[in-house]
Symmetry: D3
Subunit: 302 residues, 6 copies
């Protein structure tokens, strides 16, 4: 069994033997070449991003969402600086000078972590979601400078116009982010305001979001800075690696101890992680993406 | 010695004998009849409101400022209700609905207590002052939903227009409040917004402030509710009495044990409390108010 | 489809055409005339108060409970003032003077919000419930001046006698509130103490609770003030409307997009909202209240 | 120069040469033999306990007061256990069971630290003092489960009767503690309640306080446990030593670099630390205690 | 029906009549004589420790876990004192002196309560668990001086070596605690560090843990103090009794009102509490422990 | 009168007329050419950096210290990222992964603000100072994840070695920073750790600190990143300008209303701001720096 963080690179794939189990992030639907190579390899590809827990959540994506959420506020603070092309304001203000206004779109893992850090930096934070129960919980546990507001087009437009920093934190597993901030809103934003769109991998929730890299992280549209780095956790690799390993280790142990067929038979959520099994495509998302035939994974005792 | 809370009433004055010490609130400068009556009585009038501590503060006014400051936020919350003629909003909002914006003008005892309670009710609070060191302290100890903003005309106008509740907390010992909110600002305020002006006894810091009573506390000017009750602490008499007694008792004990001449000789701040001494006016504010001759108080050993 | 907040008024009912969907609060069981009128109208009455979410909660009642809970503490603070006939104390005390004691009966949505605001005002708060897990959660997220105490007759009596303010927050969906505070306890309470009974619509949890209005909100029994306003959220209509709309909007959209029969077929909790369907009574509570025949709602595909 | 923590022991004194500087705790007034021995030795005794800073505080006593204050709450928690003869309650309670009530007498360094720890343990804490400004500060910075109450005989009696733990924290530099809790109050206390009297070295603020040791720390009077260990910080020697050294080190450096005569000439507060100088008694407290002649210390340039 | 706290004593068993219901802690698996006596008695033994709620938790054990968890931190603070043989440090440090480091192994009920109190005492706390979602919740609600760290052998070893206090809080219902701290780690710990192992009844999570009593609570292994009292909540009997009664009372009422057969038929979790029924062993754990025949409990209507 | 932020540029100086008052930052001691030009100009140079308030503090430097202090933590967070050459860790960690350790050297304005923001980001923070009373205050008002430690060489070395981020915040008005972190300590630091030395203008408190710019902010020495930007507040110009104006405006008004000679006569702290007066050097620091003759400023009435 091979356990990795990133998808196998070309030279690595060449050396994979049939039947070998590869446990890592694959994101097949976005990479046809990788999909075909893994099908041909005869290996078993168990993808972190589709392993599911009992509550239907994606436990091997959550740690990366936590890292990216926390980073998003600190990136926003940095790019608001004038030499970075931002508005030239300090997120937390100082005594006598009001702090920045931060709008966090989405109250899930990414948004909660973003709001917590933005609040810790001293900003005035609004976090938006459509889930009333989530709002109630956030209202119980967030610092007093975070306010929850129900997400709808009217509110998003109003708070976007007031914000110094907008953090896009709307990630829907396996789907494109809905576009909540159309380009037309940018004209109403403050010049030099910053958008950090954490969901860039899934298209982002701003119409103007596009992918960038750590070496060239920002670009400006209509006077608004956009930060669209696709692999934010990569910048804090030590933290990310620990966080990911904490989550993957229990699976690795079970895969190693039981063999993957028995481990997956005992845990349907782990079975959902098997994307490709010895030449057969076994995950609906992958099959659908490339018009391949979907087959049922063969588990122990099945 | 007679210890009271309110100034002596007409029938009481008639019975005061010369040389008797009366220790209470007098507020002579606002009441010529009382001044003349006390001069004629030959009694010694030691006024709570001019007793001073070593730091130059007024320790017998502070407890009433604390009570009034805390009450002001809860009065504001009440009069924002629609049946009270207010905007019909809940100060703290609820999860998913943004809270009210509260502007507190003045970061002294009144303002600090007002901001603390408004924050406790869940509002978004801005507190303004011109004293940078006070701002720094407030920024250290206030809840995270209180932000400090330097007070100047531009900021006051901006935040007044955004506020659902404005609390006037600018009290300058022995002077009229400066007018920080001219009537012209009211037109920019939200209809049904509320102003609670704690400094009403000293004229208030809003041009449109005028005195009201607990039985008829509010009036409307240009669509904005005004709460101008002159004796706010009177509504919570049990709390106020305890608070005042805590502060006056040490003075009472010293006056009783040493006699007022020796007590005042030993404590120059207490001596400043002697407004009228056996027919002689001994406080500059009283003398100035009515064009009377100012004399030096006669203390023990002097 | 007609979306409202309050039940249809007589003149409105006259104009409702058969088959029209009315989505609002109805509270049929308390209003036989309304029930009969709606049956005759041939319309479809979907009642906010019986729509249920997956967890068995009532998502269209929750926002009103939040508003009422938060208001209850601020009403209590107001009516403790002496001119309002209360004890004349300030809920939060001041430095050197102890704060009021607040007892919140019930740790659900109403009670949690009441306790949070009472604590924010600086009071010493006890919140009672019988659900241990709820206590544990409250103990994790409440401010340090809120203490949880298991609810039983002995404790209720003891803490009622010590309290300056008692908030009744025991609402059981579709049932009368249990009487936790019999009249006999009032004799042991402090004169001028205040009871705010949020569950007054369902009879309240105090024997002496009876309904009042915003224009005449209080009455006194055995020296204790009672606040029994039946529609507390009405006083803060702006906040309440936003809060309610946040919760109803997703249902409205589905009703509009799918038609009510398909929307209800897809969401059993929404189907529970259909109280009357084109002349047929389809909710057990309504049928039972007036001895009417209960029929099954006809949904799409059923 | 010799720097120590405790006063010199008999065998050490014998070896002290004239003119040698000893910098340590001496507490001469309580130990005539030590006083006489040090006079005879011809050494210079600079006592930690009388060194004063610019604000008139005793900077070399403060660290020990902090340690003792923090310890006092945790000792109280321990001795409330039943096997220790206490009431058998847990200071912080648990969800559903009310916490203990703690009364802290005195809002200075000892009391503030005691209250902070008692609050951290989850208790309901009342802290009493007569200084209004100190109350205000405590009310700004203490956790929400600490309430300030003005200290007077009526309040002390009332809160003592309700308390599970009373912490005596009334230390007046160089004077006997006033007796705030007469023996008669004990009869009204709960059986098994605990008194920790930190001021035991100065007589304690409870009539029934008497000195005990770490090996036999408690005794019972009228059903109430008393903890009167005289050298509380000694139990946490590592922490105490660091705390003390942080405070003494700057003095030690100046004494070593300048010589004690020049160091004391430059810092009148350090000069106040010189209790005995080469056979002459130079501190009024020591002279008064044993009827010795008081002389002025001889400093450099004087 | 007999309701108790502790298991029946020999003389009590003799008087139990057949068919009588005994509702208390039994812990049969650890006491063969008790098991046999109860089988012979013909009584019905319903054991607190195996009653289960809907979420699969043990609601009659939880209150004791809360008490023990909270106590564990305060015991640790006490035994760190030098006269108790500890390191001689104050858990919370003082200003200028760093606080103690506390490691809590396990983030369940015991660990959460332990961490909360240790943090309240001012320590620097690390709490470890393997459940990511629990970590996230703790990170939302714990004070800022508590950090969550994923539990694995490497981390445990590292943090054990740095800790002044280790609290074992790993309790797995019905199973021996896993050994997380082997004896070899002790050599790397600081001399005088303290281990409080709350899971001692189930073997503890330290290899060197062994049971002790309130009268002789500690022993030293390899320089490290061990506190292994088996019945920690017994020391705070008043608190524990209230906590337990809060949890048992609803069951007692149902047992009394319905009879145990109907009560257990209506609540499968209560049925799991029936360990022995009129001479028949009905709980698998008891049967397995002593090789007895397991029978199905006879309930009403079954 | 001319009011500026930065010192006059060459072309500006040429146009300054004799007697004109220039009120801005000058920092003469570091710029002989500027000094000579201003002497020659015959103008009056009042320098922000030497204006003093009644407490001896520098009120026109404080706002910049606040901005720089808050920025320092967010810069540190940014440069810990791997693409920035840092260790690749997230300052606040995530649930299950320990946060970074931050050491703040100095507990004044800069350090307090740095510690507050680092704590808000979720780090484990140690703040060091030698002033015990400052430590006590910080311990009262800082979040629970900030611990105070007395500053001495031993502690600095220990905590530097453990730190991921060291913030130098030791600014002594008018003096070079003491070197607290010699180069030898760097070898013991973690590779990729970051030092942000706010005192770089005064030499910094690390031996290896040297000035950098916003366009090229960092350099690496012995594996440790150094951030030495000299004008940190410049990056957040909007915030800094408001903060500075809040502080300067009252002086500007007085200078304008009274004329500088009368304003300075009335406020000795403002008089200390007069560095050069119509060709005469009137500030000792400037005179000393360049061996010029020091003259007394001529004020009104003097």
């Amino acid at each position: 069994m091979i356990v990795k963080v990133k998808e196998p690179q070309a030279e690595e794939i060449a050396r994979i033997r049939p039947g070998r189990v590869i446990f890592t992030y694959f994101h097949f639907a976005a990479d046809q070449a990788l999909t075909e190579a893994m099908v041909e390899s005869g290996a078993v590809a168990i993808a972190y991003e589709t392993v599911t827990d009992r509550g239907g959540k994606l436990p091997l994506l959550t740690p990366m969402s936590e890292v990216a959420g926390r980073m998003s506020a600190q990136e926003g603070a940095k790019y608001l600086e004038r030499p970075m092309q931002g508005r030239g304001i300090l997120l937390g203000g100082v005594p006598g000078v009001e702090p920045a206004s931060v709008l966090v779109l989405g109250g899930g893992v990414v948004g909660t972590n973003a709001a917590k850090i933005a609040a810790g930096l001293g900003a005035r934070v609004v976090i938006m979601d459509v889930d009333g129960d989530r709002m109630r919980y956030l209202s119980d546990v967030m610092p007093a400078n975070v306010h929850t507001v129900h997400s709808d087009a009217h509110s998003i437009r109003k708070y976007t116009a007031e914000a110094d920093l907008v953090i896009g934190a709307v990630l829907i597993p396996g789907a494109r982010c809905p576009v909540l901030v159309p380009r037309s809103y940018l004209a109403e934003m403050k010049p030099g305001a910053v958008i950090v769109d954490v969901g860039v991998d899934q298209g982002g929730c701003c119409e103007t979001t596009r992918p960038t890299t750590h070496s060239d992280p920002i670009y400006v549209v209509d006077g608004v800075l956009h930060y669209g780095v696709t692999n934010m956790p990569g910048a804090v690799g030590r933290t990310s690696t620990f966080a990911l390993t904490n989550a993957t280790l229990p699976y690795v142990l079970r895969l190693a101890n039981l063999g993957y067929r028995r481990a997956a038979a005992a845990d349907p959520g782990l079975a959902l992680g098997i994307n490709i099994q010895e030449g057969r495509v076994t995950h609906p998302g992958v099959a659908r993406a490339f018009g391949l035939k979907l087959e049922t994974p063969r588990l122990a005792g099945a």
